[in-house]
Symmetry: C2
Subunit: 198 residues, 2 copies
Amino acid sequence: MTGSSSDDSEVPSGATRRSDATRAAILHAARERFAADGYERATIRSIAKDARIDPSMVMRYYGNKEGLFAAAVSVDLRLPDLSAVPRAEMGRALVRHFLRLWEGNGELTAMLRVGATNQAGAERLRDIFREQLLPVVGRVCPDPEQVPARAALCASQVLGMSLTRYVLRFPPAAAMAPEELEAWLGPTLQRYLTAPSP
Amino acid sequence: MTGSSSDDSEVPSGATRRSDATRAAILHAARERFAADGYERATIRSIAKDARIDPSMVMRYYGNKEGLFAAAVSVDLRLPDLSAVPRAEMGRALVRHFLRLWEGNGELTAMLRVGATNQAGAERLRDIFREQLLPVVGRVCPDPEQVPARAALCASQVLGMSLTRYVLRFPPAAAMAPEELEAWLGPTLQRYLTAPSP
DNA sequence: TCTGTGTGCCAACGCCTGTTGACTACGCTA
DNA sequence: TAGCGTAGTCAACAGGCGTTGGCACACAGA
């Protein structure tokens, strides 16, 4: 607010600050807390405690809680180009990709938890859907008018399984093996992507 | 705590208290707030304000916030007996039932929002799954071992669509007509219920 | 008419929250 | 060695939270 901020969101490549370790620790702790507790219950104080620093450091480096969330959770789905895989296997490929993504990091769980209760979090998820999933579906769907609906259907099944498996932890959903999930959900997404409109 | 409580959870049928209108107003406001804001951000103060009474009345009638939530959100899915519908139409019947349910009241949205961030809320949803969905699926699935997984798959698709449509409000999901959704999701649930294990 | 119980409001409690500003310690450069 | 910017700590703020206890009124049964 006073203008003393260094506004260093873009540091020349290779440059390091003494505070880089602290910043990383904050982001790491923030990701874990947001994923475990959601936005409201993940307090700056608890995050700072996990990172073994003072809460005021969080404010100094990220401005406020919203800024911290934005910095901690940057979701790049790294979706594959579906037009490069055999048309009959797109569904399974997509499911496999998402499963790896969810197993690999907590950011997606954090996004889901936060999106469910926080307005800004929900908007963030809508952005991801629009900017990352829509184009991929658009490339394999001939009729542009059907792209949004088909993409939304895919999202509903993927997010639904993530919700029941990682957030709500329904025992059967949490217990299923990835290959099993791929075999069940693959054909569903395949149909949403390629079946004629019902 | 002092013993002055009337402990009147069970009032003889037909008996009315002067406070019944107030109690109803509290529950109504609580349902709306929990659905709109989730557990943490739906404050007792805001609920009381909506109901135009003092926050202390909420405490008097429902003990504490958890008690209020339990009283406000009692989910009975009223699932149909699937063995009574033609086997080929079970999927669509289930989807149609859930869509009506979601459109009709905010309790399910509240449960979903709360379940995503609150431990007790998630457990509540697991209870509903176990006590209400599992038996229904069990009745139409010949192999008892497959029942939990198939039911979880159905839940994942139904909850996923509810999430993207009512909570995250992905525009394409929110815009689709119920009949359209039924046509898309019906075959998915049908497969989860009846297709041979992959 | 008196009395007791249910109903409601008010003010306050202790705690936790995000956020701020002042103050000290380090490490580089001149 | 002096000076300066950065890194970090500490204590406090204003406000919101769930929750509590006391007090005032209304209405029923005696």
